[in-house]
């Protein structure tokens, strides 16, 4: 029977089935400091070991400070959580990339970077953006702490098989520096809605997806959860194999695996998806979110919508839009390019990789951050930071007045001191514009790295297609 890529990965990982559910084998388990402490406590309490320490990797990213790492951590509760992960990893024998490790970084940045992420595998982590790893043709999804404990103890998870959802992305972008992967995924979520993918796994395919780099594909897969999907994946190709070749944790028989992957890890030509959606990128504009969920997004050339126009007759949507505008402190009809910002955050598991920083730096070189704006760059990992410094990107950013910080999740979720004050408005390359996400009362506009960088300089949103970015 013809199968989709997802169905092939699923079928090859089923241990047993029953009650309409499958017990699925997990190939890689990524662990971080925030969603793991209770899981380790549970193991300890029940005198259980970790089933496969060799498939379990940990780092600390969510609450680590992004300021000088030689200084003590001021927030004591953060320090306790960081020390707890250290202690747990030591006790249970888990490989940890700790706060001082040259490999430390956001878990979804370092997985691929170190070659832990592999095509055709199942990957879990106690973090919803685990979908990022789908860019390599893996079935990767976020889980909660009870499931973290279950996977630590058994290397398996009970799951209902998600349905398949094909997301075709077709056409050619006119300006690849101005229309980015972030604009593509925001356009998709804007069309299908935040619950459009509930109960499904996306497979992104089509001409445009093939042309994207691995880092751009990661940005797309990262936000699958924002479209409500369990996961999102992309069939691996030569770009995938080239990206991983030679990385530290790829298996020794790598070339043999590549042969197998090349042959098997694709959707059969006559396979059927349960749902399908197509986005044509030829005419899309840079995207800016105006509301409090990622589907509340418009073109940079657009205006802050009127709730009734946005809701198209749906009273619940209209109420939600009215509340969102109130929270965001925005007036309907305002041009997006007239929205002035106070803060800029370039970072997060969505947009903190080398290419994101390179694209942002291209727009920043020789310019200055607006005197009204505080802007920060938070590289996704220590490796990204080092590579960027080797390219001199840190100099470009620092000369312009950006803060150049240490790696971590930072202002994406406001767990460390990098937060917005109430009422502050931020152009952010992160993934969620939920109320209070970046700090209580903070206002988030989701954009691409280049859009955020230019907003930092101009003090308001700008259509980056009008700039010379080559």
């Amino acid at each position: 029977m013809a199968k989709t890529l997802f169905e092939k990965i699923w079928d090859s990982h089923v241990v047993e089935e029953g009650n309409g559910r499958s017990l699925l084998y997990i190939d890689r388990h990524l662990v971080h400091e925030v969603t793991s402490p209770q899981a380790f406590d549970g193991l300890r309490m029940n005198k259980r070991n970790i089933r496969r320490t060799d498939l379990t990797f940990a780092t600390m990213d969510h609450n680590v400070p992004t300021s000088d790492r030689s200084l003590p951590i001021l927030d004591q509760t953060s320090e306790v959580q960081i020390k707890t992960l250290e202690r747990n990893c030591k006790e249970f024998g888990v490989k940890l990339f700790d706060i001082n490790s040259p490999d430390q970084g956001i878990v979804h940045v370092i997985g691929p970077e170190l070659g832990i992420t592999l095509p055709g595998t199942t990957i879990v982590c106690g973090d919803s953006h685990t979908s990022t790893h789908g860019a390599f043709g893996a079935f990767a999804f976020g889980i909660g702490t009870s499931d973290v404990e279950h996977v630590l103890a058994t290397q398996c998870i009970w799951m209902e098989k998600p349905r398949t959802f094909e997301i075709r992305v077709e056409g050619k972008r006119k300006n690849i520096h101005a229309i980015t992967a972030k604009d593509i995924i925001l356009s998709i979520i804007r069309k299908i809605g935040t619950a459009g993918g509930t109960g499904t796994t996306f497979e992104y395919r089509g001409e445009t997806i093939s042309e994207l780099s691995m880092e751009q594909r990661m940005t797309i897969c990262n936000m699958s959860i924002e479209g409500g999907a369990r996961a999102g994946l992309i069939a691996p190709d030569e770009k995938t194999f080239d990206y991983l070749r030679g990385r530290r944790y790829v298996p020794k028989n790598y070339e043999k695996l590549v042969e197998y992957w090349r042959e098997n890890l694709k959707t059969d030509s006559n396979a059927r998806f349960d749902k399908s959606f197509t986005l044509h990128v030829d005419t899309i504009a840079p995207q800016v979110s105006w509301g409090t969920n990622p589907a509340m997004t418009v073109d940079v050339t657009g205006k802050v919508p009127f709730p009734e126009e946005y809701a198209k007759g749906n009273t619940e949507e209209e109420k939600a839009a009215t509340k969102a505008l109130q929270y965001m402190g925005l007036k309907s009809g305002t041009l997006i390019t007239d929205i002035e910002i106070d803060r800029v955050f370039i970072g997060s598991c969505t947009n903190s990789r080398l290419e994101d920083l390179t694209e942002a730096a291209r727009a920043v070189k020789g310019k200055k951050v607006s005197s009204k704006v505080r802007a920060m760059i938070v590289p996704g990992s220590q490796h990204v930071k080092k590579q960027a410094e080797e390219l001199g990107l840190d100099g470009i950013f620092k000369d312009a007045g950006f803060e150049w910080r240490e790696s971590g999740c930072s202002m994406c979720l406001g767990m460390n001191p990098d937060i917005l004050s109430a009422g502050e408005r931020c152009a952010s390359t992160s993934n969620r514009n939920f109320e209070g996400r970046q700090g209580s009362g903070g206002r988030t506009h989701l954009v691409s790295p280049v859009m955020a960088a230019v907003a930092a300089i101009q003090g308001h949103f700008v259509d980056v297609r009008d700039l010379d970015l080559n």
């Binding site: 029953g18 702490t145 935040t194 109420k319 969620r432």
Partner: protein, 160 residues
């Protein structure tokens, strides 16, 4: 089980508002409970009573995978969330830890239930009785395995 309703007529209530990020560092569940729903309702911990039910719109619990969200609700006393639909990770977390019952309700049920209504949930009969309004609503039975995990008191008590 019986309880009264706290209703949020809102879709997409995300886990960042159910339990905001800064509190993810708290390990004490009773302490977490003090911050439940703080992102949209600062007075929630004052008004919630043991045994209460939350009623909400579509896609409840979307966003972050933090299990702290159902834990904070559970330790506030919330026994069930009745929503038009749930985001999947929240749903799993609620069931796996047996923190609360995630119950999907029909649009008509959602509209009919008001803040403060007294409800009695009878999962064995797939029914919710609205004592205040003297009405009965049908609910879909839990999928087989979910029902078994809930009956066992969570994933770790469940034996297949």
């Amino acid at each position: 089980m019986k309880g009264s309703v706290i209703k949020y007529e809102k879709d997409n209530i995300d886990t960042d508002v159910i339990l905001p990020g800064p509190y993810l560092k708290i390990h004490d569940y009773d302490e977490l409970a003090k911050h439940a729903m703080e992102g949209i309702d600062k007075d929630f911990h004052k008004k919630v009573k043991p045994g209460d039910f939350l009623v909400a719109g579509k896609n409840f619990g979307c966003g972050s995978s933090r299990e702290h969200a159902p834990i904070a609700l559970s330790y506030s006393g919330v026994k069930a969330v009745l929503a038009l639909s749930f985001a999947r990770i929240f749903y799993r977390n609620a069931v796996d830890g047996a923190f609360l019952l995630p119950i999907e309700i029909e649009e008509s049920t959602y509209k009919d239930i008001s803040e403060g209504d007294q409800l009695e949930i009878e999962t064995s009969e797939n029914k919710i009785r609205n004592i205040t309004k003297n009405t009965i609503y049908e609910i879909k039975p839990f999928p087989e395995l979910i029902g078994k995990i809930i009956a066992a008191g969570g994933l770790f008590n469940y034996k297949s």
